[in-house]
Amino acid sequence: MEVDPVTRAVARVEGHGENTLHHNLVRFTHILRHLGVRVSMAEALDAYQALTLVDLTSREQVKAALGAVLVKNASDRQIFNLAFDRFFVPPEEKTRRRTLRKQLEEEERRRLTEAREKLNQALSPWSTEANFNTEEIKTFARLPAREQKRLTELISRMHGNPVNNPGHLIARVMQSALNYWRYYLLKTQGEEARQQLEAELTGETEMDDVIAGVAADFYRDPDDQLLHQDMQQVAGTDLEKFTLTLERLSTRLANRLSRRYRRSNRRQKLDMRRTIRRNIAFGGSPLKLCYRSRRQHRPRLLLICDVSASMARYARFVLQFIYGLSSAVRYIESFVFSEDLERVTSYFRRDEGFVPVMTELVNTSRQWGKTTDFNVALKTFHRHWRHLLTVDTLVIIVSDTKTITPQEAARELAALRKRVREILWLNPVPRKQWPYLPGVNVFLPYARMFECYSLHHLEAILRRQMLK
């Protein structure tokens, strides 16, 4: 059949076109996925179908329709809203944003050139060519003006020093100073830097704009920020708010858990249907009975928490969260370890509130803030506390896997795995860095490892695992 030229042309434009419904929808679902919202193919198809049913000229309807089919939980709703508002904008707005971005880029470039010039100028009296890399120049540009000045002054004061080939030496000094600053900035502004990494970018500028924008907006909301913040970074006034949030989350989870594991008064119930069928042969008199049986076990929790120097802060929060659950979980045993292992269950059996208990624990424990030897810790555990394990024990290990002798520790872990229901490993190191940790690979076969550096992670993992 001959297709008329207009239809063909339209089809062609649609096929390659940038601004079709299909195309935009696909890009939008991509953006959502990059922001961590799970959107399946089926849902994307639903979305397309949904759009054919609503008034496309009504922004409100389109938003409601896409929201209803693409986003299936309340916490993703906010991400969706932000992404929608940023993605579906009139062309003028798009152009305005593009210009704005260009300006910002221009600004950044100017700042970098300026920084490079300043650096070279400071070194110029020695007529030396120090090749600063981009990282170093960026660091210099990010320094507060006062520090920039101090650094250049320091260099100029070295004028009088009679050293052979001073240029080279000065350049080295400068580079190491910048390296220090880079490390320092990363540490103090670590959260910000990490967020920028977090939202994976696609490489396509327009989509990346939306993704980066949403990520930035999202973290501006103080409550969400607290929830997603790296526990390592919590300090000062936030600490109190953080502790409150932690308490609320753990209480909520405890409520759910206790409802789930509430001991029911119902005895085993007779399965009438199967009983009748089985007894047809006996004239319907129920000679053989069939029962329905189902039993819910409350999990026993065994917590092994790394409290070495790198982990101490996380450990505090994790311990508090787990103890928030103690009303719902029948039995919690806890251990802390670094160079060796100590049982700390008894501290938490007192009714004293978390803060005094924790303070006492930190003061009396010999493990807090030492180096890590998971192998020795597990050996001690096996020697003294093996009797605490049962087949329905859920072991939760909190550690960054940075230990000496990981291979030996993995062997011990394998032995532990055989005796318990499951081992969950909460790792505060972001998943992206796992490939560089030798411990992760050797422990992975025996434990289910989760990335866990924020309250949001902690709550989600425990909820999912314990309410399974």
Binding site: A50, A64, R256, L467
Partner: protein
Amino acid sequence: MDLTIKQLQQRLETQGYICDQDLVVTLYLSLKLAKPLLVEGAPGVGKTEVAKALAGALNTELIRLQCYEGLDENRALYEWNYQRQLLKIEIARGTCEPAALEKDLFDVEYLLERPLLKAIRAEKRVVLLIDEIDKTDPEFEAFLFELLSDFQVSIPELGTLKAKQIPAVVLTSNGERELSDGLKRRCIYLYIDYPTLEKEIRILQVKVPQAQEELVHQVARAVNFIRSHLDLKKKPSIAETLDWTRALVALHADALTPEIIGQTLSLFLKNRDDQETLKREVGLNGLVEQIQGMKSDSSTPARATCHCGHHHH
């Protein structure tokens, strides 16, 4: 049934269900795409009400399946009427062939329809409400998931029963358990949040018409303030606002005073700690001041100070 979005909204409103565009579009899509609607939100925001209003709007029957822990197919789908079967066996003892008897025993007349089967066998398109799906066990959820995808059931003794009309399904969840991804993927999703001030006022006007205009505004503002400013264990939701307003009407109150709030506190804060929090952080006097302050903020911001001065007498 060919409703437009606007018509659907009007019909819902005649049912006394005040809803915004978001909700109507979502409901409309779930009807048009013939997919179950999963409704989530805090307790008391009107999740179950969605299904009731929908049944009213479509002028059809509402079939409700209340979920609980341990709910199984027998309670949800169908069960044989054992007592009748046993009686039949006793009556027929020695008079007929066992094979014929068995065939006879498993006939539709011995079948007890439970909500799911009832919805499937209904002649007219019904609204099936599966309430608090998160309370069931994962196995039941998986079973439900099967049923919702093709709307047919096979009963071994009778064969496969296929739905005559695909029912409009509404599932509600309080989020006590994560629902499976499969189920979520199959559903259209609706999250009902606490209402905005304007919406709550409209709801109150429709549901408690006896209440004075001024009282309605004050109640809505008070609840709105409590929700957004206090850190509570259980925030008051629409259900509580309605109860409170009805109680105030019964007490012939035409405006909120600290005394009357104190007397009716337990109607909207159902937790002792929360009541203490309100008294400690804001105080009943403070709450009344806030309500009036909000009013002057919205109408004549410049005169707000004047109002405040008035309250310090």
